[in-house]
Amino acid sequence: MTIQFKTETFRDDFTFSNSPEAIHRFPFPFDKDEYMYAVNIEQHMPGPVKSAFEFPIDIDEHYVSEMKDRALVLKQDPLRCQSLPHMITAEWDLLELLMESMAKNYPEHFTLTRDGDSWHWVNGPLGIDQKFTFGDTSTLPYPPMEYITRQCQGDFNLIDQRNDNLWMDAGIVTTQADWSLDFDIGMNFMEWHAPVPLAHDIGVFDRALKFLLNLQQGRPVRRLNWTMTINPRLDTSPENYHKWGVDRTTVTPENVGNKVHLRVELQALWRLPRSNAIVFSIRAYLIKMEELVTIPKWGRRFHRVLRDLKPELADYKGLTRYRQMTVDYLSKFDDGAPTSPGFFPD
């Protein structure tokens, strides 16, 4: 299966859009007509063919343009990629996981040849051909985490486990929904989750942490998280708030269908073999309201979810300013018919 990679932008003129196939495979995150935080963790097993869950690491039509956007972010702000010295083994583990997975599932685009520690990686879409020695950082142009994540969609955190807690000790974060690696690095699970409303009170983080401390090699898990973004902007970081915060004031009843995007994060977690660290991947998918409502079930359902969302969640996610306008737009696509259970289109 050869992917046709699109040329598009996630800033300035915002030419990003989804093809009909990309709309159909969008990881819509609501299996009911309402939403509240829960420990929504499930095994990261292969999902339906062509879905975003078909393979452990999903590469899609936006790959090449997303990697260009990442390079731009890193050029302006190198602190988006940081790693504490004890995470170097985990970096190599991550490189192995991503290269193996990409080469296995997208052989038309990526190949990996291993002969002991002598590795040969070929990335067709980005025109990269690299021979290197696994475990020897001096044989790569960047440290291993940065090297491979400049070639893989999604943000990544490497999490160390000690003292019955998880510590955010490395990561590359250029497509985030308003949180900062530079601020969170070195924090533990409860500390970096402190800003989240309501979830602490209902025990979500206690349970999630205990679960993750037991995460096993060979048994990755995933969850979906969501928020909304004005314009298809990947880099909605606190560092650049001055650039995108004001976008929220530009939504009008005329442009809401085009400007307002549902942003879904497919988050997966793997226990890494050599380091016993955990990798947390955060892969962001964007879809504008006009595209979303082409799937009637999703239009109906998202209207109901957004209309009935608790105000604390709406505030935390930064939707308050344009929520009503979006609900009004979506209401035109909700005839009140019942929706079928589950995420997928009818």
Binding site: I41, E42, G116, R207, F211, Q216, V221, P273, N276
Partner: protein, 320 residues
Amino acid sequence: MSGGVEIPVRVVDVEQATQTVKRFRLAALSGEPLPSFSAGAHVVVTMDDNGRRMRNPYSLIDRADDGSTYRIGVLRTPNSRGGSKFMHERVNAGDQLVVTMPVNLFPIVRTGRKHLLVAGGIGITPIYAMANELRRRSASYEIHYAMRNEASGAFIDELRAAHGDRLKLYRDDMQEFVSVSQILPNQPLGTHLYVCGPEGMIDAILKGGRDAGWADENLHSERFLAPAGGEPFSVVLQRAGITAEVRSDQSLLEAIEEAGVDAPFLCRGGACGQCETAVVSCDGKLVHNDHFLTEEEHASGKKIMTCVSRLKGRELVLDL
């Protein structure tokens, strides 16, 4: 088994290391490389004794550089379940076993400045792997290895060759004992201690550490690992009108699924709450292993999370 992915292996070599310890070299039946592991990890080995399945955890000693084999060390213990006896008497080169993916409950603290590794007897197996990893990383470490006598030190030669004077031996027959008061003083701030061995030794070392003012965060131990799984029992699915057996090597949820009933689940790890099921009655004691129900709910005996919890007793009746 909800414990993890399983790898069928062949025993390629058995070595009588001492009178009571055998070392087994295992290769994947598929010929593929075995997964890398972090020092301190164990695998659970499934043995099949004429249909009677036994599952014992064993620490990984090492993995061949090309990934072709793992080594485990097995002490023959007069243990009622008989796993180590089976390994010693019945398992030969060429035989097949099944192992899980590595699981690490005894990891090295990567932020540690220095590492004191303390082993007693067969407790040396995870310590052996940890010492090798620390050496590879050029970290600062010491090994304190206690044994009954020179002949029962299953790993002395290999350890000495690799670690030289970082290795210190203690022989019971020479009245030499690992003493906390000797190894703990004057260690740099940020030193971590790891101990694996007989219960009494672990308790003494940990107590000594605490008495010397060490924080719990810097003291780590691995006791003889509990066998995976649990005891078998019967489950009655009242609404479906089905009675099924829950084997010792499967979870309640797996037994329900095997009986053809589509039960809810999501995480299969006791956290998400999906598999919560009402208990109608039970003859025995519920063993709750989840993080979802509250203590009061556990005590009430009215609910069970089928993915991780089970019954110690005869029969459990569920509203399913």
